[in-house]
């Protein structure tokens, strides 16, 4: 089992009458698992084989190669399978309605099956995911992970169909989503990735697919601990305002809490390798008297029902304004990063709606926030859509011709955050 450690960053001092307590909890997992303790994994690669994947034909070819590379990364003993998606879902390998157990023979079998894949047909992503869910159910008890690749919009089923499938599959497996090219919809893949606790990213060029799939599969193989939740206890009279993962990407978890008892809820965090994530927890408490100290929340990492580490979020009321007005650096930083992601998404949305004033304002604010926080990755992507006149004040001009790729890259990666750097405040 991995060892988890937590650190809590907050200013526990509140002025009289204040009720909102904010803290950033950093959770680090050493990713060390004894071979015997490693959860048995199951992996499915879902490839879009709709007609558009055949134009140009190198797209489907690259997808086949990338899947082959991913399968090579799967260690012996892991259950795996490949699904081809069109307006229906089809198990490409194995074809007997179960998953194969990885070995040199089965990997070769999968590669042969992949080579016969051709592009043709429509897109119904919900049905692909539903089949993955059915196959994962045949190997219950394993830690299940899928990679979904698509190049287009979900056309052959309604939004409601997809929502129903996602509601049904939540918590059953984790799914990383990748969009290749620029004909897919960012909001759609984000919805899927978010519901299934995975990442979403854009692959601009088919040639980059193999490297990305390899990285995804290697990360999946490195996961040492599954079924981990962030357990938040709050005292009677207090409530959770929000729980949000803020690094490495922003993921809203507030609505995903599962009540354990009247004072405790579990927020899913899926699987952990050797990694570190930050969470922003905001609690509303009933204000107390000057000098009173209370425990506003206890945040613990639980694996199944086993507590692994915990952090205490405290509140102390003071009449010393020097103490109560100091905003914690980490809290301020991630509040900024969340606003940054929101500004980008709202800005791009406004631009699509033709509201250029709002778009300019929001993207300008995003430039300002990215600069302040040293989020160079996002800043670079922002420069693809705006001309920056003055980064410090957020003075920008919208570019006239924005490449679809630049816009989608910015949208997809808007939730990527940076941690507090020495230069950030």
């Amino acid at each position: 089992m991995s060892a988890f450690t937590t650190e809590c960053y907050q200013n526990a001092y509140l002025p009289l009458g204040a009720s909102e307590v904010n803290a950033i909890i950093t959770v680090t997992s050493d990713g060390v698992a004894g071979q015997a303790e490693q959860p048995e994994a199951a992996e499915i690669v879902i490839i879009d084989t709709s007609g558009s994947m055949g134009t140009p034909s190198r797209k489907i070819k690259a997808a086949r190669q990338a899947t082959e590379v991913a399968i090579d990364c799967i260690r012996d003993g892991v259950a795996f399978g490949v699904i081809a998606g069109t307006e229906v879902a089809r198990a490409v390998y194995p074809t007997d309605g179960t998953l194969a157990i990885a070995s040199p023979q089965t990997r070769l079998g999968a590669t042969r099956a992949l080579n016969r894949l051709e592009a043709g047909g429509g897109t119904a992503i919900g049905s692909w995911l539903a089949l993955a869910g059915k196959l994962f159910a045949t190997v219950s008890g394993r830690s299940c992970h899928a990679i979904l690749l698509t190049d287009g919009e979900n056309q052959h089923e309604t939004d409601e169909d997809l929502d129903r499938v996602l509601a049904d599959l939540e918590g059953r497996f984790q799914c990383d989503c990748r969009g290749v090219g620029t004909d897919w919809k960012v909001s759609e893949l984000r919805r899927i990735a978010s519901a299934l606790l995975g990442s979403v990213d854009i692959i601009a060029e088919p040639t980059a697919m193999a490297d990305d799939f390899q990285a995804l599969m290697e990360a999946a193989m490195g996961k040492a601990t599954g079924n981990v939740s962030l357990r938040v206890w709050t005292p009677q009279g207090a409530s959770v305002a929000f729980v949000r993962q803020v690094a490495p990407t922003i993921e809203e978890l507030t609505g995903r809490g599962v009540q354990v008892n009247p004072l405790t809820a579990d927020y899913p965090t899926a699987t952990w390798g050797r990694e570190s994530r930050d969470y922003h927890v905001c609690i509303n408490v009933a204000p107390r008297e000057i000098g009173d100290e209370m425990l506003a929340a206890r945040v613990s990492l639980v694996e199944g029902e086993e507590p692994r580490a915990q952090a205490l979020i405290k509140a102390t009321w003071t009449d010393d304004r020097q103490l109560s007005t100091r905003i914690n650096r980490e809290v301020a930083h991630y509040t900024g990063q969340a606003e940054l992601a929101e500004c980008i998404q709202q800005g791009l949305e406004a631009r699509k709606d033709g509201d250029l004033g709002t778009a300019t304002f929001k993207l300008g604010r995003a430039v300002q926030l990215a600069t302040e926080s040293g989020n160079d990755g996002t800043m670079k992507l922002l420069q693809g859509v705006v001309q920056v006149d003055d980064a410090a004040t957020g003075t920008v001009r919208l570019k006239h011709d924005i490449a679809a790729l630049d816009e989608m890259s910015l949208d997809t990666r808007s939730t990527s955050t940076v941690r507090v750097g020495p230069g950030a405040t």
Partner: protein
């Protein structure tokens, strides 16, 4: 006050002073309302602070005469069993005695709490180091008045209770007592002219009790304290009993171990440390409350060690 009026709770029936929810010894925060539990809780309009940690409890009371409480204490229970306790009495003829007592108790308490967590630490060393830390802390205390030109200072009595053993160290005239079914004894010998007079055969105990120098102490925690190591006593009780630490605000009204033990024996059997501490502080107030009163009571059960 009669013993029937006492809130005699038994150990294990602890509750949160804020919401009344049940709690476990050693809990730092209430599991229902989140209130801090291991901090002294002010009662009676801030004239008294109480801390009930189950097998150990302390009460510090301003008394009826002094305008502020210059006593201070630090009490900690770890693993629901091991206990660290420090009591300091700020010397009121010096300036900032209350600050000196508070900082000294905190500094010594911090050292002892570190030591109790380390099974290899020597309790005697820890007590001595704790008192050194208290001296260092008091040296930092600033004068609130320079009129008298007396450095801030205080007394200190501390105890570390671990694995059935008790180590007590002290400076000045705050005391420690041990009570069990067969025994009532004073563990400490005051660093005072009176005690030194008795020890040298110059005074009888009766004369000493009436001596105007009864409260003139010969050793204290402060920058101008005599360079001399604190005194230590170790005890390994064979029977369950009670360790009581207190300031002179209490023992003035029951100086001998026999008298003090008699007061405790008058309480219902099985009275929790918190109830014992409260009733002793109340007794001192009933008899005049001429000084600040601080008392800590620790239940010791060697069979549980």
């Amino acid at each position: 006050m009669s013993t029937e009026d006492l809130d005699v709770t038994t150990q294990g029936d602890l509750s949160c002073p804020s919401c009344g929810a049940p709690r476990q010894p050693g809990d730092r925060f209430c599991e229902r309302c989140g209130a801090r539990l291991d901090e002294p809780q002010p009662t009676d309009g801030d004239l008294r602070v109480e801390l009930d940690l189950g097998n150990a409890a302390a009460v510090s009371d301003q008394g009826l005469v002094h305008h502020r409480n210059e006593d201070s204490f630090h009490l900690e229970v770890t693993d629901g069993r091991d206990v660290v306790v420090v009591i300091c009495d700020g010397i009121s003829s010096a300036s900032a005695g209350n600050v000196a007592a508070r900082d000294a108790a905190k500094a010594a308490g911090t050292v002892l709490s570190r030591a109790i967590a380390d099974p290899d630490s020597d309790p005697r060393d820890a007590i001595v180091e704790g008192i050194k830390a208290a001296v260092e802390a008091v040296i930092q205390v600033e004068w609130t008045t320079r009129v008298k030109r007396v450095d801030p200072s205080c007394t200190l009595v501390s105890a570390l209770c671990r694995n059935g053993g008790i180590t007590v160290g002290w400076v000045g005239d705050s005391r420690a007592y041990w009570f069990d079914a067969d025994d009532a004894s004073q563990l400490t010998i005051d660093d005072s002219f009176a005690e030194e007079g008795i020890a040298k055969g110059l005074l009888t105990p009766e004369q000493a009790a009436k001596s105007p120098f009864l409260h003139s102490i010969t050793h204290w925690v402060g920058p101008d304290a005599p360079e001399r190591p604190p005194r230590l006593v170790e005890l390994r009780p064979e029977r369950p009993g009670r360790l009581v630490l207190c300031t002179d605000g209490l023992w003035n009204y029951a100086p001998s171990a026999r008298e003090l033990g008699g007061l405790i024996d008058a309480l219902p059997p099985g009275a929790a440390p918190a109830a014992v501490a409260r009733s002793l502080a109340d007794m001192a107030n009933d008899r005049g409350g001429h000084d600040n009163i601080t008392v800590a009571v620790v239940d010791i059960d060697p069979s549980a060690a």
